[in-house]
Symmetry: C2
């Protein structure tokens, strides 16, 4: 099975935990809406790719790690879209969860997705040390002091620490995807953290480029939000060409930081195709 | 160390995960505000009591289970108090988290507390089977299909299933406290579920009594909310005396459902003192 189908199947199986008469039907529908149809699934694909490059031997555990990370990402989007944050009416080209289901269900959908991410690990049999390493990694990438929730909370501070903000808000789940992928294969997981962190940073820069130079149909959400909301952005700081240069240098750093593994060339190829995919079409001449 | 101090120490240690420069300071303060000063800590005390009655041999694991359950309870209070749900200005006699820190931080505080509950299990060394049993129990009591988040979501349905609503919204974490207590001691954990479920139901009835016949100083939150918000309540259904009768019969059922254990008489005594504590003072003559 290709990685894409494998991820969709694992996400479908996870979200089907809501398919019981004891579950409020609208909550189940809102969770479906938050997770499907597919987004780019960048983080779980990275997790699977690292696991495979490390000689994956427990696919059930990799699936759980990849699924957990994507569910946590989806949960953060649902909560970030709420009226008290970005007040976003659309997401992936469709109504955001609070627009479609109301604010109370949007809060609860995020909560239920966060819990579901961890519920997965209670439902499988795996060696205790790998399981604990993944739990620690996934928890750290989401909670305090410096996971995605903490990253979002920097937006509530009178004085923002930009380095912590980006590292937490975007970098944390990328680092977790790489580390958890290696952990699920029983490898020295922390050695993969710098690789994941560089990729996370490069994704943040690509996202800033898409926000400033993409078009809404291409990226599935409103553009120009960073400038409109006065949010920090690599484009605001470096300009478009400067941001593209930074993106390439971050990907080069990630490749350099990659620990030795049997699947190194596969990973390198994957990263190069990601860069092409993520840079808006109208900037393609710079991305070559 | 007595159970009360043990629980406060474990909660302090957990929340101190936010004490790093990388953590946005207001998020750390809001989490403190949500967890301290102590509430009644009914659920973690139950968890510790069951573990002790079962011959507890891994106190670190019991502490993690009890702490996780209390953090999840605190998270649910923070989110339930939000303007889009109960819009409660006070909690435990102080401003609710969104009143003190604003709505965005209240959403994120709940999220961070949910994640923290699970982070705890990545930070300890424990036998894989006990750990997985506790993870499964705690996840199930919080998420879908029938944990506290699902319970809260019943309030968003056009047609509420009252039995599922109560069992999920209040019963689930009580059942988890009992089951996880037994699991942390390596005992047949699921045998403790009916005991925990009866206690959860009895606590719901006591809470309804406090809402309808307590006073605000005594219970630390506004009274009369069930009637004002048209919420289902044992008092609305059975009247005050009927609800007190129901409370006693549920506690008797819990005692009957208690699996054989060395600490049975201690547990019985604890339950009887809880009933006395939970029934509002002005109804004490009925509670004897």
């Amino acid at each position: 099975m290709d990685a894409g189908s494998r991820i969709e199947n694992a996400l479908l199986a996870a979200v089907s935990m809501a398919d019981f008469p004891s579950c409020p039907p609208l909550l189940g529908q809102a969770m479906q809406h938050a997770v499907f149809p597919r987004g780019a699934r960048v983080r779980p694909r990275l997790c699977l790719a690292v696991a495979s490059a490390c000689g994956e031997d427990m696919p059930v555990l990799t699936d759980a790690a990849a699924t957990a990370i994507e569910l946590l990402h989806c949960a953060s989007l649902v909560h970030d879209d709420l009226p008290c944050f970005d007040n976003a009416a659309t997401r992936r080209g469709r109504p955001s969860v609070h627009k479609a289901f109301g604010e109370p269900l949007a809060v609860l959908t995020g909560d239920a997705l966060i819990v579901m991410a961890f519920q997965l690990f209670g439902r499988l049999t795996a060696p205790g040390d790998r399981l604990q390493s993944i739990l620690l990694t996934v928890g750290r990438s989401t909670g305090v002091p410096s996971g995605i929730v903490a990253g979002q909370a920097w937006e509530c501070e009178p004085k923002v620490d930009l380095a912590h903000y980006h590292r937490s808000k975007t970098g944390a789940l990328f680092a977790a995807a790489a580390v958890a992928g290696a952990a699920s294969a029983g490898k020295d997981a922390e050695a993969w953290r710098p690789f994941g962190e560089y990729l996370g940073e490069s994704y943040q820069v690509a996202d800033d480029l898409r926000d400033s130079a993409g078009d809404e149909d291409e990226i599935g959400k409103p553009v120009g939000q960073d400038a409109a909301l006065g949010r920090p952005s690599a484009v605001a700081e470096l300009g478009i060409e400067g941001a593209i240069h930074r993106l390439h240098s971050l990907v080069a750093s990630a490749i350099e930081a990659m620990p030795p593994c049997s699947g190194a060339s596969m990973l390198r190829a994957m990263m190069q195709s990601e860069v092409k995919r993520l840079v808006p079409k109208k900037l393609a001449q710079f991305a070559a």
